[in-house]
């Protein structure tokens, strides 16, 4: 546990030693503002809630989170520092968790910095704050799942660009499979059971339940398991490829 804390501290401060965290948080805040007010018509809807803000998060994360995750392992392998890291008395799991938690904490910080929106809707009306809290939690969990995918892809290759592209593609699939577009196309071709199974893998459908204010164990578990599975896959990859 101590070791994870030490690694977390290093990774977290490394996000702020380079412009990565500032750029990420800046772009996240600007884009979420643009989406909320410009495309989401927060004011024009006349409703005191943050649905227009949260509804765009899957699409925001689709590009921003892979950009943040791409360096986690690729850079270690490219610079050779992985040899240092892996010969210290640290288990690969500790290294993976330290890296993941640090990046996840930056995502939490970015989300937390959108608090003026929350204040705004509370000032303008009487929103259901329980729903907003559930939405923040859902958004953070979903961001974690995107991050775990990104880190797995980063473990796969030395090139940050390839890691970025691969994770955008994989994340895109997980966003897209729950949309009506895909489900309608599959309808009639595959049995209903498979259709349900496909739909239930989608990040968006689980996120939507949380945004509606329902914190169900099923949706929370879905994201937790998704994070665990992708991190485990990344762990297998990094142990196999660390010396390439």
């Amino acid at each position: 546990m101590d070791m994870i804390k030490i690694l977390f501290k290093r990774e977290f401060s490394s996000f702020f030693a380079t412009p990565v965290a500032y750029v990420f948080i800046g772009i996240f805040l600007v884009l979420s503002g643009v989406f909320t007010f410009y495309f989401g018509n927060l004011y024009e809807r006349g409703q005191a809630d943050l649905a227009p803000f949260f509804n765009f998060h899957p699409w925001l994360y689709l590009f921003l989170v892979p950009a943040m995750a791409m360096r986690t392992w690729s850079e270690e392998r490219k610079s050779g520092s992985i040899e240092l890291l892996m010969t210290l008395p640290i288990t690969p799991l500790q290294a993976m968790l330290g890296k993941f938690l640090a990046a996840w904490a930056v995502l939490a910080l970015a989300l937390a910095l959108t608090f003026p929106l929350w204040i705004t809707v509370n000032y303008l009306g009487a929103p259901d704050n329980g729903v907003i809290i559930a939405s923040y939690l859902g958004s953070w969990l979903m961001a974690g799942a995107f991050l775990a995918i990104g880190m797995c892809m980063s473990a796969m290759t030395k090139s940050q660009v390839i890691a970025f592209i691969l994770s955008v593609v994989v994340c895109f699939i997980f966003v897209l499979i729950g949309t009506p577009m895909v489900l309608n196309a599959l309808k009639g071709i595959v049995p209903a059971v498979i259709l349900d199974a496909v739909a239930s893998l989608s990040f968006v459908s689980h996120f939507q339940t949380l945004v509606k204010g329902v914190i169900s164990l099923q949706d929370v578990l879905y994201f937790v398991i998704a994070i665990a599975v992708w991190l485990q896959a990344g762990l297998v990859l990094i142990q196999q490829k660390k010396a390439d």
Partner: protein, 307 residues
Amino acid sequence: MIQITNLTKQFGDFTAVDNLSFDIKPGDIVGFLGPNGAGKSTTMKMITGFLEPSAGEIKVNGFNIDSHALDAKKTIGYLPEGAPAYGDMTPAQFLSFIADVRGLTGSEKTQRIKDVIASVELESVLDRPIDNLSKGFKRRVGLAQAIIHDPKVLILDEPTDGLDPNQKHQVRKLIENLSKDKLVIISTHILEEVTAVCNRAVIIAGGKKLFDGTPLELEAQSKYHQSITLKFTEGKPDTSVLNALSEVKEVLESEDDNAVTLIPQNDAESLFAVLFAKSQSESWPVAAMFAERGRLDDVFRSLTAQV
């Protein structure tokens, strides 16, 4: 204490390390020599637990590096090839991080960091990002990182590569100053380094061990071991009489036109006296007369060329 038994590493069809076995005791400072691609770095990576062996066993201080990796790694200090570090950190931050990982805390941590910074002379660059440092400083940061927890086993992959002569001297002094119960493995291309700091030399090529002995024994393998070169002031006189001397095994023409090199039958000392007398009786214009310890480059080439 490092015990390596029948160590083999294959990358696909390529065998990088081939059935290598040797033991290293505390107090040994081993110069690990070999041409590029001989398997030096691969062996070091396996000893430090970065790579898994294809076959064979490594024990570091009694801990199997495979099954008791963490216990073994705690006793090792390792400078990987090229001295990688986290470039966005400053040496001060980086050393503090490594000290944390090594379990150093409180005043002990502060003291150890101060000590290693002093011993590799990093004071002037403590607050500059490692990315912006020169090659020499990066190497020293890597060294500081490796010795910060005062490890029993120190493994340095080309520690003086890219350093200027002053810095090389400094690194060698640092290694000499380590306490005598330490075990050090240094891989290098520079043969003088082995005679300068090591008390044991291991040469490998093609993943196989070719030589294991003291640097003196390595020098003794040289044809020029204890040979004497006679240098004349102007124009080499006729030295054919030397061929007839019983103390002389062989007379070689030197690269230098004004000199001749003699390989002794027994040792340099007996030959020295004979030569001295001879050059006086023949009244040769002798400018210098000196004995050689052996040409390591030649030994290295002849040993590794067979593979």
